[in-house]
């Protein structure tokens, strides 16, 4: 798979490139800021772009802006945003603008090439990816009324749905049959009062939005 990297920290950029090359990815471009990345996008012929969320000039959300621009100008290219922020807000912003072929991963996770490779593969295939740490925190703190009704297994499935896994992916992860997963998903959506026939990409957003809600007004 052809990958380009945009990160203003040289150590990070080079390390990541080496890690990916070792794992069999082809790194076709390394850039220090979002503008350069977007400019060179066509020439690099990449399938997925890895983008740091904070880059020059303002060090705020350049990565998210670059992701939106790439998804707009090169719809076939996936974007994986790397961030130090654990807050779901930034991931939501990314998903809300383009709910497919995008991923939001905590930066320190990239050293685990298995996680990184899996995320790149899923983004490339059109899924979306949300860092498990973020989802785990949301599930843990989320209001307890409706979630309390879920079984242990259902909560596990809910977490994977929020991370962006498709039914197939959930099957593979939990070693369950497609039928069982489908049944779980249906029940979960029903218990959380979410539309059951919701399409995959919307489902991720719906589940995340649900988890982000705070306790209901008393």
């Amino acid at each position: 798979m052809r990958v380009v990297i945009a990160d203003d920290a040289m150590l990070m950029r080079e390390g990541l490139a080496r890690l990916l090359s070792d794992a069999g990815f082809e790194v076709t471009g390394k850039y220090a800021d979002g503008d350069e990345l977007v400019r060179r996008m066509g020439a690099a012929g990449a399938e997925v772009a890895i983008v740091d969320i904070r880059m020059p000039p303002t060090h705020t959300d350049e990565g998210l802006v670059a992701a939106e621009r790439i998804r707009h100008s090169h719809p076939e290219v996936g974007v994986l945003v790397l961030s130090q922020y654990l807050e779901s807000r930034y991931a939501m912003r990314l998903l809300e603008s383009h709910p497919d072929r995008v991923g939001y991963l905590l930066k320190e996770r990239v050293s685990d090439i298995a996680v990184l490779g899996d995320a790149l593969k899923r983004v490339h295939e059109g899924e979306c990816v949300v860092d498990p740490t973020i989802v785990a925190r949301l599930v843990k703190r989320s209001r307890n009324d409706a979630l309390a009704d879920l079984t242990e297994r259902e909560r596990e499935v809910l977490g994977l749905m929020a991370e962006g896994h498709s039914n197939r992916g959930i099957c593979d992860k939990l070693f369950l049959s497609p039928k069982t997963v489908e049944a779980h998903v249906g029940r979960i959506l029903q218990k959380l009062n979410l539309p059951e026939s919701v399409e995959y990409h919307r489902r991720v957003l719906a589940v995340l939005t649900y988890l982000r809600q705070t306790a209901p007004q008393e």
């Binding site: 150590l11 705020t60 130090q84 654990l86 807000r89 320190e108 990239v110 925190r137 982000r212 306790a215």
Partner: protein, 593 residues
């Protein structure tokens, strides 16, 4: 100049002038009655009344003004206008007169107009302040006394012309009736032009006057304009024949001039009465200030006592430079053209400045009285203004300190995020690469060691992230208060409820104060039963942060003081209610400057 006037204008002189003028008027009247055909007044009662009335009115107004403001020229000028008004009667008088008075009458036939015009041009200060006014006053005297009076008289012999019984013309040099007429006609032309210009200048001044100035000078200016109009008509009438005399039209216009002079004198006296009334209100001011030392009252009372609603009182700072108003806010004393600035000094130190209508300086006594009456209140208020100004400075400096601390926090967060955190991630990546190499070369011990190191690094990263977020959440500066509080709630136990949050952005210091007030209250919420709620409302242009929490709040007092300090630095306040079970409810009101 004023001092010299004060010198000649002693009380005795003024007292002597009263009977002197009266005697002069009565004598002139008697002179007219003895030769009614040569007189303006004649034997007519109205004529006589106007003749004596105008002279006495001018003299009385002049002497009263003189007594009230001894250093002002208006008084002497008005007094001088009285005999000038009577002079034409002597010059007309043909038989049995006295030569010096007859000659004076011939020369001063037209002398009243320039005196009256001079009064109006200099009224009420007594000074001719602008170049055009000075020029017009000078031209007036030159035309009326020089060209119409003295110059033709030197070549005019009345005994050769029309009256053999007339007294001798004492300034006659060489009789030439034609030349006398020519010079006289020229003088009349110049005088007509002068009267028109002077009338115009006075009209412009009248129209442009501010309201208080109009009240003070309006009657005098208007009467003078009317007087000059009639004088001008009379000159026009006389120009056709080349000399001035007392035909029926002349007499008619002369009476009208006399009437306007009486009005003018009345206007001057009214101005004096008005000033006295204002003085009475200044006396009132003393009483009022003694009774109710209202804050900011000194300015209002000075303004009403002096009849200048726009009066400004600016207090001089004691420690720092510049001026402040009663609220302690910096002000720049106004410098408009028609405003004057008068400093109030005590013990050689400037206490305050009064910016007021420049007209007020024309009655310096009045101004001084008013200021003297208000002095105690002004002194008192200058202290208050100073205290308030210092309070304002302290408040501003408090806000600056908090803002600086916030900026420092933001920098620190940024440094941690883009520095230490970034490096640790890079390091973790490096460790992972080493581990991969070790895996390839098959050194199992090394792999375990590197895995342990990586795990430590991740822990360090997680801790560092929490610290950075606690110092200053990036989302607060990036996306504002609502986003930051939403994010905050993600880190808190399940029971935290977020109420209404305001959309939109607020000044950074306000957002930070609101955020940290809420964050500080819910910081150590216990995992179990950690009920809390956060709500932020926009109210009266400010934010109201309402936070409620259950469970024991560790070091509650210190933390609440910290919140109060931060909110107080923005002029806000907090209200805390706590119950015995540790339940705390805090409301912080933060104004948005």
């Amino acid at each position: 100049m004023p001092n010299r006037l004060a010198g000649i204008g002693g009380r005795e002189v003024r007292l002597a002038l009263w009977p002197l003028t009266a005697a002069l008027a009565v004598t002139t009247l008697a002179l007219g009655r003895s030769h009614p055909d040569d007189s303006f007044a004649g034997r007519a009662v109205l004529g006589g009344a106007i003749e004596v009335g105008a002279a006495l009115a001018l003299a009385a107004a002049g002497l009263l003004f003189w007594a009230s403001r001894p250093q002002n020229r208006i008084g002497p000028l008005l007094v001088a206008a009285a005999p000038a008004w009577l002079l034409p009667e002597w010059g007309n008088n043909s038989e049995g007169g006295v030569a010096p008075l007859f000659t004076l009458g011939l020369v001063g036939f037209c002398a009243c107009a320039p005196f009256v015009a001079h009064v109006a041009l200099a009224y009420p200060s007594g000074r001719l302040q602008q170049q055009p006014a000075r020029a017009l006053a000078a031209i007036g005297y030159a035309a009326a006394v020089g060209l119409i009076g003295l110059a033709p008289t030197t070549v005019f012999d009345p005994r050769a012309e029309f009256c053999t019984a007339c007294p001798r013309n004492l300034v006659l040099v060489h009789a030439n009736a034609g030349l006398a007429e020519e010079i006289s006609r020229l003088g009349i032309r110049v005088a007509i032009g002068w009267a028109i210009l002077t009338g115009l200048l006075l009209t412009v001044r009248l129209v442009r006057s501010s309201r208080p100035a109009l009240k003070a000078t309006g009657p005098v200016l208007a009467a003078t304009i009317a007087y000059l109009g009639f004088a001008c008509a009379d000159l026009w009438h006389g120009m056709r024949r080349g000399y001035l005399t007392n035909d029926p039209t002349d007499v008619h216009l002369w009476r009208l001039q006399g009437a306007t002079l009486i009005l003018l004198s009345a206007g001057v006296v009214w101005g004096l009465i008005r000033a006295r009334r204002t003085r009475t209100s200044v006396a009132q001011l003393v009483v009022e200030l003694g009774q109710s030392p209202r804050v900011g009252g000194a300015r209002d009372m000075l303004a009403s006592a002096l009849g200048d609603p726009n009066l400004q009182l600016a207090y001089r700072r004691r420690s720092a430079g510049g001026y402040v108003d009663i609220e302690g806010d910096p002000v720049a004393p106004g410098t408009a053209a028609d405003r004057a600035t008068t400093p109030l000094v005590r013990d050689g130190r400037e206490l305050a400045v009064v910016v007021h209508d420049a007209e007020l300086l024309n009655d310096p006594g009045l101004f001084e009285d008013a200021v003297a009456a208000a002095r105690l209140a002004v002194e008192n208020e200058s202290l208050q203004a100073e205290v308030r100004a210092q309070m304002n400075e302290i408040r501003a400096s408090r806000a600056r300190i908090v803002a600086a601390a916030d900026a420092e926090r933001r920098h620190l967060e940024r440094d941690l995020h883009d520095g230490a955190q970034q490096r640790l991630v890079g390091l973790s990546l490096g460790v992972r690469l080493l581990r991969n190499e070790a895996a390839r070369s098959g050194t199992r011990d090394r792999i375990t060691e590197l895995d342990d190191a990586d795990a430590e690094l991740r822990l360090a990263l997680a801790e560092l992230r929490d610290i950075a977020h606690g110092i200053y959440p990036a989302v607060l500066s990036d996306e504002g208060l609502a986003a930051a509080l939403e994010t905050l709630s993600e880190r808190l136990p399940a029971g935290v409820r977020l109420g209404t949050l305001p959309d939109g952005r607020f000044p950074a210091s306000v957002e930070a104060a609101a955020y940290f007030a809420a964050a500080e209250i819910v910081r150590d919420l216990p995992e179990a039963d950690g009920g809390a709620s956060i709500e932020v409302l926009c109210k009266d242009g400010g934010l109201v942060v309402a936070v409620e929490r259950a469970g024991h709040m560790v070091d509650a007092d210190e933390r609440l003081v910290e919140i109060a300090d931060r909110v107080g630095a923005l002029d806000g306040e907090i209200d805390v209610r706590s119950r015995t079970n540790g339940h705390i409810r805090m409301k912080a009101k933060i104004p948005c400057v």
